[in-house]
């Protein structure tokens, strides 16, 4: 019994830690959705790019992922900004379906661009600063995961602060609630769309950089996180930042605790089942409107 109790605590800790990373990924997606009303199917691919950048900084410039993080963030922000202007802007006024198609296309393109440039090999950052583990009373916490979850929490809090407390953030919220009303307040919606897209991409890129401390890097790594991110965002409520944060933790917990109690094979099925159960009761997710 004591054994099981220990296992449970272990699982809850691991689940919550993983959950924070999911939260950050989902936050990026939800900002983009909230502001532009589009589902970014290439979201996971930006995660992949973040991971690759982090890996390259380590491999070729010998900068540890923890220290290259700000650079990765800036690079991803710029990539997001460019992507918005080259692609997203062009379809924003068009049919909803064109927006979906364009991000599908982007996703296929990015994965294979990565294969083309960097090959489909699996890579791993060897011995980053964040490595090893902490053991306390039989509960083990892996340091890279801990760093990733704390990092995600910090970045998540920063983005939350940016959205909720700054003037630009308030304008972004305004756009996500009512685009036209925001425009006639004097908000340059086009510019802020670009900013939000870039912030969204940055969030997921940073999550990628944090994951690269303990997760392998390869071109298709994003697809898996991407699907989980959709479910997380929808569970939290599209466009809701708080929702994304909470849902991320729920997904992390469901995956590990649910996987343990039911069967690991079904752990993602549990995540989807939770989503379905929640939207049947509250059609707009936990915190959506």
């Amino acid at each position: 019994m004591e054994q099981l109790g220990k296992l449970l605590i272990q699982m809850i800790i691991s689940g919550v830690m993983m959950g924070f990373v999911f939260s950050l990924i989902a936050m990026g997606l939800t900002i983009i959705w909230g502001v532009m009303n589009i589902i970014n199917f290439a979201h996971g691919e930006f995660l992949m790019i973040g991971m690759f950048f982090s890996f390259f900084f380590f491999k070729y410039v010998s900068i540890d992922p923890l220290f290259s993080l700000p650079m990765v963030a800036v690079l991803l922000f710029i990539i997001g900004f460019i992507t918005y202007h080259l692609l997203i802007k062009k379809v924003l006024q068009g049919p909803v379906l064109a927006q979906l198609v364009v991000t599908f296309g982007l996703s296929i393109f990015l994965v294979n661009l990565a294969v083309f440039l960097w090959s489909a090999d699996y890579r791993m950052i060897e011995n980053p600063i964040a490595s090893g583990k902490i053991s306390l009373a039989g509960i083990a916490v892996s340091i890279p995961e801990l760093v990733a979850s704390i990092g995600s929490m910090i970045i998540g809090a920063a983005v939350y602060w940016f959205i909720k407390r700054t003037k630009t953030g308030m304008a972004i919220q305004a756009i996500s609630m009512d685009k036209d009303a925001a425009a006639i307040m004097g908000i340059n919606t086009d510019r802020l769309n670009a900013v939000s897209f870039a912030v969204g991409v940055m969030c997921v890129g940073v999550a990628g950089a944090l994951l690269s401390n303990f997760y392998y890097v390869f071109p298709e790594v994003g697809s898996f996180f991407g699907v989980i991110a959709f479910a997380t965002v929808a569970l939290g409520g599209f466009g809701s930042i708080e929702g994304a944060m909470i849902a991320g933790v729920i997904v992390g917990l469901a995956e590990i605790v649910g996987g343990f109690l039911l069967a690991p094979a079904y752990k993602y099925a549990i995540v989807f089942a939770i989503y379905l159960a929640v939207v049947l009761i509250k059609p707009t997710g936990l915190k959506g409107w």
């Binding site: 379809v91 049919p95 909803v96 379906l97 296929i108 393109f109 083309f116 479910a231 049947l280 059609p283």
Partner: protein, 329 residues
């Protein structure tokens, strides 16, 4: 232009469809044509939901998988003809569609989309671990002598091709009928606005459920065709999210809500993808899919109404009212 000319065009089209595989006599070309037809049918079925009712489904693979699995399971275990299995599978898919659409009918926009995705992924995981249907090992339909009754043709691909042409024709006819029917009208009203449709007295819930059911039925039948054509199914090939997304892509690429959209989208995307794969895929550097993705992005930014819109505009015509509702006001 009168009715007669229209009939002549239809007859020409039918003739074209009949003659095409005879000109393209390499089995690979015929294989590609069959894949195109399969995707066209799946696209038409998606179109009922996405194009007419404005309900984005990312879970078509669930229905496809149910169709493929049911007929194959019945064939393997009790030697039931796939024709019967097809109908049974269709009805099982309808059952699944009711289970999905009834509670989800109140979900709006992307919530519905993610719900279908969650449903399909959940179902895939269940099949992946369900040993009675082979689990991850998949199912191999027995290889029987060529017969129409068992839907297996080993000497030639033509029977598969013509059966699918016939199937597509029936589906398109049904779509055409649906378009001018009361249900079609309701569904279009639904696409424009849920509230408006309700205020017109449309029972939106029933409409959504019925649309999902029709779509699921057609998709499941296509699943049986797939199983009998490829003669191997597993959750990774018939229930994968990738398949659901390809179905959406094909339809949107061709142009949503048009009768020929899915066919055009499927022809275009499949042939482009196959050509790039054959020419560039051997290099193993992802170049084929890279160009494919680039092309999709280019067309969707330059011509958001799909290839259909590109062509109609080129000919000096607006895409008309069939195009999907734009976002916002």
């Amino acid at each position: 232009m009168n009715i007669k000319t229209r009939h002549i065009w239809l007859i020409l089209l039918a003739l074209f469809a009949i003659v095409l595989p005879l000109i393209l006599d390499s089995p690979f070309a015929r294989h590609v044509l069959i894949v195109i037809l399969l995707y066209s049918i799946l696209g038409e079925a998606w179109s009922i939901l996405g194009g007419y009712a404005g309900l984005l489904s990312f879970g078509q693979a669930a229905f496809f998988g149910i169709g493929a699995y049911t007929s194959t399971f019945l064939l393997i275990n009790w030697g039931v003809s796939p024709w019967i299995g097809m109908i049974v599978g269709g009805f099982l898919a309808v059952l699944a569609a009711i289970c999905l659409a009834y509670p989800c009918s109140k979900l709006q926009g992307h919530y519905f989309a993610i719900a279908t995705l969650a449903f399909a992924e959940g179902l895939r995981i269940i099949f992946l671990n369900w040993n009675a249907v082979g689990g991850a090992r998949g199912l191999d339909p027995p290889i029987l002598p060529t017969s129409l009754w068992y839907l297996e043709f080993h000497e030639s691909k033509l029977p598969y091709y013509y059966l699918l042409v016939l199937f597509l024709a029936v589906v398109m006819l049904a779509m055409w009928k649906l378009n001018s029917s009361r249900l079609g009208y309701y569904l279009r009203a639904l696409r424009e606005s849920n509230n408006a449709a309700e205020s017109l007295g449309v029972n939106t819930k029933n409409c959504k459920v019925i649309a999902t059911c029709i779509s699921a039925f057609i998709t499941a039948i296509a699943g049986t065709f797939y199983a009998q054509y490829v003669l191997y199914i597993d959750p990774a090939s018939v229930m994968q999210l990738k398949l659901s997304i390809e179905i959406v892509l094909v339809t949107m690429f061709g142009g949503v809500g048009t009768m020929f959209g899915p066919l055009i989208g499927a022809s275009f995307l499949t042939s482009i993808s196959e050509i790039f794969r054959v020419v560039l895929g051997g290099a193993g550097r992802g170049m084929d899919l890279m160009i494919y993705g680039l092309l999709i992005m280019l067309i969707s930014t330059l011509k958001p109404d799909g290839v259909w819109g590109l062509v109609t505009e080129r000919l000096g015509r607006r895409p008309g009212k069939e195009k999907a509702k734009t976002s916002g006001e």
